[in-house]
């Protein structure tokens, strides 16, 4: 059984920026342990001599001419924002008090 403790899940949740309740952390710790045990079987065949594949149809150097394309207007870009001042997205404080 993989060691996925509630502390590990809480750390991962923090890295993922997801506020989880203690109950969610408890449930996820159990579920993730079982899932990780199962998916770890990839190591049975993934030996050192096998190269990795990141994309199924490899393409390289996908470029376009460096000219301005069709873009969203500021109004369009801000249209779905929870808060904005007409030209910029608005958010709460970037830094906490201790910083």
């Amino acid at each position: 059984m993989s060691e996925i403790t509630t502390d590990v899940v809480a750390h991962l949740a923090n890295l993922s920026r997801i506020a989880l309740t203690p109950e969610e952390i408890e449930t996820l710790a159990g579920e993730l342990g079982a899932i990780v045990d199962n998916v770890a079987k990839v190591n049975e065949v993934a030996t050192a001599d096998v190269p990795a594949t990141s994309h199924p149809v490899a393409l390289s150097n996908v470029f376009r001419p460096d000219v301005p394309g069709e873009t969203l207007t500021p109004e369009q870009a801000l249209s779905g924002a929870p808060d904005h001042d007409g030209t910029r997205f608005k958010v709460s404080a970037i830094l906490g008090e201790e910083q």
């Binding site: 997801i18 899932i35 065949v45 993934a46 199924p56 149809v57 969203l72």
Partner: protein, 512 residues
């Protein structure tokens, strides 16, 4: 025959001849949705402008404009695709009510071809699921049995065509989300070659796996939609620049000619497995017998690494999803939840994502973050990418012996709503037949081949072809569809239960 029972190809003939108008066709489908979607719940949103657009297309036709084959035909659109003037939520609360400022390329192409968007279809949240039960807006119900799942993640699109609410639809397929819903609803769905259909405006789940494709009741209809949405898009950096043949021509050739003479059909031994439902295995072998009797050569092939496909997939997908879903940060679109007492932008982000994401999305983001963590990367994500190479090699070896591969499209018929909801691993293993094609980027089709004797529910076959050989799916699919319908004397979906709205409502109230 009622307009809603006609295929898109049949509707297009009647529209072209002037026998019916697009307004009439669109209204017939909107009426059907109003009558049955309370029970099916295939749609999350109905396009308020559908009739207006239909009238515009009728006016263009009356003015003598040259229109495309499917002009005036209504289509349902999976909610994973960005649409102007219609909310695009991907089945998530975090995007509730979000109206994108642009159309996905595939949607823009549908509009340019004068199709009529009917609305947006239900799906598992961010396409994470095999049953549509992970939608934040409640599950879709299978038209064959309302207590059963319609498949997922594209259960809404599949149920919409199977319940005659739309003749055709768009789906997206990351691990089977087009092909498995097709199998369990008795409809047709195609995952094209990776990179052959634009994903610009498709809300990304796992970028090395996602592919947009058609959903329909007939092989020809999927081909007609594929012809419209396919082809290079400079806005998608993974888009292939190939020139594609007409898939409708491939389907029409397959429906007419004896396409099976000399065709080598490989049966993937590892996907014809004990443990699959007996009626699925039975109908699959009957389909093979039918193909052999009509001239195809059936050859068993082995793909030993397919056994590791599900494990590799459930590392690669969460890893990529954890990165793709970082964009839902409460700043640019969607939900914002301020924690009690306020906080920094990061506190707001965490509170928003804690409230806005459902349990399966949280599970996969946390799993993906784990798989990508320093110290675990090589063991999990790196190894999964190696398995991907091995699976591609299995496909290459198989396609050196055969022209196409086949398997059951899903290991079982539609299971009951709730049956696997609390057992993530049981839900994941359900994708065993469809995942290998995504890992290798090859195209696949789900196609109905009968009803399982033990439960009377649809069974599907999956056809897979080499990368870029999507036309083979349509040719063989259309031939098999014709042979089966000749044998049955009817289409499979004509056997689906009648969804008489009043009676069903009474039944759920206990009055019947």
């Amino acid at each position: 025959m009622s307009l809603i029972k006609l295929s898109a190809a049949e509707l297009s003939e009647k529209l072209a001849s002037g026998e019916v108008s697009s307004v009439e066709v669109t209204k017939a489908h909107l009426d059907r949705i109003a009558a049955v979607d309370g029970d099916i719940h295939a749609f999350l949103h109905i396009n308020a402008k559908a009739l207006e657009t239909a009238a515009e297309v009728d006016a263009k036709r009356a003015a003598g404009e040259t229109l495309g084959e499917l002009a005036g035909v209504p289509i349902a659109i999976k909610d994973v695709l960005a649409t102007l003037e219609m909310p695009s939520t991907a089945g998530s609360k975090i995007l509730e009510g979000w109206i994108p400022p642009y159309d996905a390329t595939v949607v823009a192409r549908l509009r340019a071809a004068n199709l009529i968007p009917l609305g947006k279809t239900n799906m598992d949240e961010f396409a994470m699921g095999s049953s549509t039960e992970h939608s934040a807006y409640g599950p879709t119900h299978n038209p064959w049995d309302l207590d059963r799942i319609p498949g997922g993640s594209g259960g809404g699109s599949a149920a919409a065509v199977a319940a005659f609410e739309a003749p055709i639809a768009l789906g997206s397929d990351t691990g089977g989300s087009i092909r498995q819903p097709a199998a369990v609803t008795g409809s047709v769905g195609v995952k094209p070659t990776y990179g052959s259909v634009s994903r610009y405006g498709a809300i990304a789940l796992a970028s090395s796996l996602d592919q947009v494709g058609p959903v329909s009741r007939t092989v020809l209809d999927s081909a007609l939609v594929h012809d419209i949405i396919g082809g290079h898009d400079p806005r998608d950096s993974t888009s292939l620049k190939d020139a594609w043949p007409s898939f409708a021509a491939a389907a029409r050739a397959g429906a007419k000619a004896e396409s099976l003479k000399g065709l080598r059909i490989g049966v993937v031994k590892e996907l014809d497995a004990p443990g699959f439902q007996s009626g699925v295995t039975q109908r699959f072998h009957e389909a093979l017998d039918l193909l052999a009797a009509n001239g195809a050569e059936i050859i068993e092939v082995s793909a030993p690494n397919f056994e590791y496909a599900v494990a590799a997939y459930y590392l690669i997908l969460p890893a990529e999803a954890s990165s793709n879903l970082a964009k839902f940060d409460s700043v640019r679109f969607g939900l914002r939840v301020n924690p009690p007492g306020g906080g920094t932008v990061e506190d707001v982000m965490a509170a928003t994502r804690g409230v806005g994401f459902g349990p399966e999305v949280k599970r996969r983001i946390i799993l993906g973050t784990y798989a990508l963590s320093a110290g675990y990367y090589d063991e999990y994500y790196g190894s999964a990418q190696k398995v991907r190479t091995l699976i591609q090699r299995d496909f290459n070896a198989a396609f050196s012996q055969v022209d196409v591969l086949v398997s059951p499209a899903a290991p079982t018929t539609a299971f009951k709503l709730g049956e696997k909801l609390n057992d993530p691993l049981a839900m994941y293993i359900n994708d065993i037949t469809t995942i290998p094609a995504n890992l290798a980027g090859v195209p696949g089709m789900g196609l109905p081949i009968g009803l399982a004797p033990e439960d009377g529910l649809p069974v599907g076959i999956q056809i897979m072809a080499p990368q870029r050989a999507d036309d083979r799916l349509y040719t063989l699919g259309a031939t098999l569809e014709r042979l089966l319908e000749e044998k049955w004397g009817h289409t499979l979906l004509s056997q689906a239960p009648d969804l008489a709205p009043g009676e069903m409502f009474a039944a759920t109230e206990g009055a019947v």
